[in-house]
């Protein structure tokens, strides 16, 4: 904050300074002691590759006009969904956003069912009635993507309340963007989760732009993580392109929640490779400089390097996983193309119980 101008009344000068000292603004990177097994490393890398390949294919088909509706691509942010969901089982809940494909894949959503859903096919996870922004899979604990900005806060907080009420050690994770952090429901849910010590983890994917609005333009606060202090909740910032860093921080927050110590706010600093939606001209993105350098950091490459350097996986193993992923996505596409459209009668199904 540069507000501490000369001539400012003393009363607020002191308050202003104290606010600065309150929060830890460091961006976390992976520590040397990250505990990652070979199997875990494999599944995490495979999941990131799946998301990347899935998204690039969706982009291709959307551009060709083969996908109805609207798509928002997750490519570039893979490390966040994967780093967080690596700690979750099907029993844990997540709520997703309009940019939800990555969360669903990382949480174990079926690739075929997802691809078919995005194409509006009857074999889709929601029988083709939801599309990109409404993919849900209750069996996997995926409470749904959401077309509403900030729509997941209430759902995740409620799901966490259910977990606590039922005396389980399950958690709920709420993914949301930097824009959603300015919504009133953010304030209401973080407050409630903190006072009731609910097992929920609020994961902000700060990709620097709310559509085209940079964060500094829409709030006087410098970071999303510091906002946690308003609710007596811990807040932490992490490098959202480093899956190991996200894995570590999320692991600790999730363990806290399982132990009944309440919620955590995690801000993952990231960048989206594509536009806000497909078709976005992205004229707001910087063509050069610090932002451009950040844009060019590829979370998949970051992990490959980490895995090789730490002797977790060899280059051959990584390449093999990449090929496997390409094959899986091809199968999903084939499955989708062979799948039927929903019947007109199906519009009347799944609306009322009776």
């Amino acid at each position: 904050m540069t507000q501490k101008a000369k001539g400012m009344p003393k009363l607020f000068a002191s308050v202003d300074t104290s606010v600065k000292e309150l929060v830890d603004l460091e961006i976390r990177t992976a520590t040397d002691t990250a505990e990652l097994t070979k199997d875990k490393a494999k599944s995490m890398y495979k999941s990131m590759e799946d998301i990347r390949n899935f998204e690039e294919n969706v982009k291709r088909f959307f551009t060709a006009g083969e996908i109805p509706g609207f798509v928002h691509l997750y490519a570039g942010e893979e490390a966040i969904a994967v780093g967080v969901c690596a700690h979750l089982s099907d029993e844990d809940y997540i709520t997703s956003t309009h940019r939800g494909h990555g969360h669903c894949i990382a949480k174990g959503g079926d690739l075929k069912g997802m691809m078919a859903e995005i194409f509006g096919k009857a074999t889709g996870l929601c029988k083709g009635k939801g599309g990109s922004m409404h993919i849900a899979d209750m069996d996997k604990g995926i409470l749904g993507a959401n077309g509403m900005v900030g729509g997941g806060f209430g759902l995740a907080t409620g799901a966490a309340m259910r977990n606590k009420y039922k005396k389980t050690d399950r958690v709920a994770v709420c993914f949301f963007g930097d824009g959603a952090a300015n919504e009133g429901v953010f304030h209401e849910c973080l407050n409630m989760a903190s006072i009731w010590k609910l097992p929920v983890i609020f994961v902000c994917e700060n990709n620097l732009f709310a559509e085209s609005t940079p964060q500094w333009y829409s709030s006087a606060s410098r970071t999303i993580a510091e906002r946690a202090a308003a609710y007596n909740m811990p807040g932490v910032r992490v490098n959202g392109k480093d899956v190991v860093a996200v894995y570590e921080v999320a692991g600790e927050a999730i363990e806290r929640a399982r132990r009944g110590e309440g919620p955590t706010l995690i801000e993952c600093v990231t960048y989206r490779n594509h536009g806000h939606f497909e078709g976005d001209e992205q004229s707001y993105k910087a063509p050069s400089g610090e932002e451009k350098e950040w844009a060019e950091v590829d979370p998949l490459e970051v992990f490959r390097q980490y895995a090789i350097e730490n002797g977790l996986l060899t280059e051959e193993e990584l390449d093999q996983l990449r090929e496997e992923s390409v094959r899986d996505i091809e199968e999903a596409i084939e499955f989708t193309k062979e799948s039927p459209e929903p019947s007109p009668e199906s519009l009347y199904q799944d609306v009322f119980a009776d």
């Binding site: 607020f12 309150l22 009133g184 308003a230 932490v236």
Partner: protein
């Protein structure tokens, strides 16, 4: 147990100490923070005391009138005089006030005729027809909604290059509303000249403050929006005055909004509409707060300066009673409100469907 990657408890450890309550005058009327004692003239000090005493009488009379069925909706104000009137005392005539429903005293002292305030209580539309030149909005009934409107009014002031501010009030309950957050965040982003008050009177209807939020103070909600925030003794008129004055100067200088939490107490029920405070608080708690009374401590402070006496206070009380009597008479003279009134005051030009309804009710009313 602190974590290995990040330290969740350490992050928050200092919050409480960083938000100590700001006080100038303690409960015995002694100046404990002389550095900040405002340089108000004798006349100004007497005027502020007069307004506080007057408003206490107004509250007592309003409760009686409500019980007699002569007023409608009423939210008692006793105990909050310093929070309400000392903050208002730091404002200028051209500042805008966006009150909550308990903030009738501020808008009355800002220029709303008392008889209109009584009509507002009765739900009569004339009560919300604000005279030209009085910069207030009608009291907001939706909890916290005035915060968003205040951000908008403040942005309007900024766009017009005004040297005034927008001031709004909510309660401890209001600070948990999404509108509260969006309001302070928006004003912060645009450095709009706004002052946001949380009058923390300890109970959101019946919900006590400590189960309202896990935060140690309500002032620290300002951190989330990145705006300066402070907790003030709301039973101390000088502290409230100074905090408001400083916040106003910041706002006018283009430094943006401020969030002020005033720690106070309402002696009465939440509203006169059936709330029984004995169900959620004890006499002991009431007595504790009565010791902190803003009028008692300010009286001591002024008596020490030779500025106040029993005669003076009696005079103010008598004058208040007289004026309240006159105002209620004026309110009684307002014409009965009709459905056609309500239809015709909403639009400059009536849409066709309302025209139709207007005619139907016109005919009924003329029978």
């Amino acid at each position: 147990m602190s974590g290995k990657v990040f330290d969740p408890k350490g992050v928050l450890q200092d919050v409480e100490s960083k938000f100590e309550m700001f006080q100038i005058l303690n409960e015995n009327g002694e100046v404990v923070n002389p550095e900040y004692e405002p340089k108000l003239s004798d006349e100004e000090l007497v005027e502020l005391m007069t307004r506080m005493v007057y408003t206490r009488v107004l509250d007592q009379r309003s409760i009686s009138l409500n019980r007699q069925g002569r007023l409608g909706f009423y939210a008692p104000t006793a105990g909050q005089e310093a929070s309400q009137l000392a903050s208002h005392f730091a404002l200028e005539k051209d500042d805008w006030i966006l009150p909550g429903y308990r903030d009738v005293p501020q808008i009355v002292w800002h220029g709303l005729p008392l008889w209109k305030a009584f009509l507002f209580s009765r739900g009569h539309f004339i009560g919300n027809q604000i005279p030209e030149g009085v910069n207030i909005l009608p009291p907001q009934i939706i909890i916290g909604a005035q915060y968003i409107q205040a951000a908008g009014v403040a942005l309007g002031i900024k766009k017009r290059g005004g040297k005034n501010v927008a001031v709004t009030y909510t309660g401890d309950g209001g600070s948990s509303q999404g509108d509260f957050y969006e309001g302070i965040n928006f004003a912060g982003a645009y450095k709009a000249p706004a002052i946001f008050f949380i009058q923390n009177n300890q109970y959101a209807i019946s919900t006590p403050r400590d189960i309202q939020t896990a935060a140690k103070t309500l002032a620290q909600k300002g951190i989330a929006a990145g705006i300066p925030c402070v907790q003030v003794d709301g039973m101390d008129p000088l502290a409230v005055y100074v905090a408001t004055k400083d916040a106003r100067e910041r706002a006018v200088a283009g430094e943006g909004p401020t969030l002020i939490e005033t720690i106070c107490y309402r002696y009465g029920p939440h509203t006169m509409s059936g709330d029984d405070p004995t169900r959620y608080r004890t006499e002991d708690i009431d007595n504790e707060w009565a010791k902190k009374d803003p009028i008692v401590r300010f009286r001591k402070y002024l008596e020490g300066k030779g500025l106040w006496s029993e005669e003076k206070e009696t005079e103010v009380i008598e004058r208040a009673k007289e004026e309240i009597k006159e105002a209620i008479k004026l309110a009684d003279q307002a014409p009965k409100q009709t459905v056609t009134d309500l239809i015709s005051i909403m639009h400059e030009e009536l849409p066709f469907n309302l025209k139709e309804q207007y005619e139907i009710y016109k005919a009924k009313e003329s029978k």
